[in-house]
Symmetry: C2
Subunit: 140 residues, 2 copies
């Protein structure tokens, strides 16, 4: 009984229609039942799973990691340490990326601040990219 079609599922979950089909294709979302006219119908449980996926993607978990997290969710008696370590790994990635981006931010600000708005010949932005020695960034 009941359920909603894919467009409605997209609306309530915030996941676009083709993306929902894509998640089904890659095995994140189980194949839903179809109507007589071959249309997918999503029940509550599937909509919840879809929201789980969306939320996890927003936090930057990869599809592979989400698959594992969903498997874990399906077996609630297990230890949560795999879930914990996936989240910790993700946190490490995020922190590393923030550090990297902050260094880029500093470098970009230096480049831009040094720009005297003249011609390319004296442009600090081009200069820094051309001549590595002028770059304050140590890691490259």
């Amino acid at each position: 009984m009941s359920g909603v079609p894919i467009g409605e599922a997209a609306r309530v979950s915030g996941v676009k229609v083709p993306t929902i089909r894509y998640y089904e294709e890659v095995g994140l979302l189980p194949e839903p039942p179809r109507t007589a006219g071959n249309r997918r119908f999503y029940d509550e449980a599937r909509l919840r799973r879809l929201t789980f996926i969306r939320h996890a993607r927003e936090l930057g978990f990869e599809v592979g990691a989400i698959r594992t997290l969903l498997d874990l969710q399906d077996n609630p008696g297990q230890s949560c340490s795999p879930a914990d370590s996936i989240a910790r790994q993700r946190l490490l990635d995020v922190v590393a990326r923030i550090d990297r981006l902050k260094a880029l931010q500093t470098e970009l600000e230096r480049m831009i601040a040094g720009c005297s708005h003249g011609t390319i010949a004296t442009c600090r932005v081009i200069e820094v990219l051309t001549d590595h020695g002028r770059c304050a960034h140590p890691s490259h």
Copy 2:
């Protein structure tokens, strides 16, 4: 005259061999002369261009933006304001991404801190992903 083969170009520029060929294919790097045996040979100017590209990629500029920056570099009499605005746009992207990642960091830390290392049934990580209401993150 002369120059170095692609492997050496890769070594000195820090760009991998297939990536150098890729840059040639997409028109970032002009086609270098070849030896009798059809091998690419890179002179100083090309190596400098390659390093420019690598540096720009490390700062996260897209290939399209780099193409523009290279064009500008080739015409040093022009105003540097396009270069400046590309860099400024990039800076905005970087800052926005940092903000986003910081919010993720907070959320992940909350998830992990709340994990009592029991079973999935009581796992805070899974719980937050499942039940959106427990998420402190306002933007999703």
